[in-house]
Symmetry: C2
């Protein structure tokens, strides 16, 4: 086998997700993931630090997309509108992968360590958004609040979207949850 | 020495905080904390599972206070107003302990593991608030959104309050940040 393995990252991620779903996260080894993907353990560790990280490989590109979209929003856009545009851009990444996202969410919800990693990822996204808003000239605490609110909207809309009972698109759900945020903060 | 050690929890917490500030969290052992507090390691482990938990001993009573205040809010109170009352009740717990809170925050900010534990504590507070709001009859996603927004307000106000440059009370800062939340979500 040559060193060039086409789409090794994607194959490892898919194999890991299947095994975590079948046997549980804790019961799965890196050796088993590599074998299922038709790759070596050595290749696994070239792409991921450990078996937890294989589920969070997309975090970096999601953050880049958030930052780029907020940066590129028109100067006239209100902070929350710039963040809403970033959530919509992210939704487009996920829409095609609903079954995959559902499976991944079920694995994460079942394991405390993975739930913690997910929280850390969301906090890091929020910090990146706040930083980008400050670079647009948004003052504190508005920048941090808008970022935290945006991430809360994304998290809650995402949880609704991966629910089997729900048929709406992620983009639609983000819009609904954002409206609900405006409603709960408008009262009295 | 008898088994009854007056205020053992408080003494251990104070000793831990001093040592973490002086030497860093990683460089401090449980034996050193117990010694500084004039207690035994055995006593330490009767009160705390490990040297990380000694910094989060108040999380349970904070959560109880949040839940009780939201539960006791008048039926007519809007969800965010019930949560605001809980944040104010919590502020009263902290106001007298500003120097202690500053020292604790500096220790947490300096250590990734402690920052993660703080995120988990905040997520758990948010989940408890959302649950309490649902028991008041608030539907989803309003319950989760209001809880997340409330925790974001608390976190941001708290960070401002522990800043040396800031002289305002925590209660005042919570009010200001809450107003700012209403402003950033009201636009467009």
């Amino acid at each position: 086998m040559g060193r060039w393995e086409p789409n090794a990252r994607g194959r490892l991620e898919q194999a890991a997700l299947e095994l975590y779903s079948e046997r549980g996260f804790e019961q799965t080894t890196v050796a088993e993931i590599a074998k299922r993907a038709g790759l070596t353990e050595r290749t696994f560790f070239r792409h991921y630090a450990d078996k937890r990280e294989v589920l969070f490989g997309g975090a970096g590109s999601l953050e880049e997309l958030f930052v780029r979209t907020v940066t590129d929003a028109p100067d006239s856009a209100a902070p929350l509108d710039a963040v809403a545009a970033a959530l919509d851009a992210a939704a487009a990444l996920f829409e095609e992968r609903r079954a995959h996202s559902r499976q991944r969410q079920a694995v994460i919800v079942a394991n405390a360590e993975l739930r913690e990693r997910e929280l850390i990822k969301l906090a890091s996204l929020s910090a990146a958004l706040a930083d980008t808003l400050r670079r647009r000239g948004v003052a504190e605490p508005a920048a941090s609040l808008t970022a935290e609110a945006g991430i809360a909207v994304f998290k809650i809309a995402f949880e609704r979207w991966v629910d089997e009972a729900n048929q709406s698109s992620l983009s639609h759900l983000i819009g609904e949850v954002l409206e609900e945020l405006r409603a709960v903060t408008a009262g009295a």
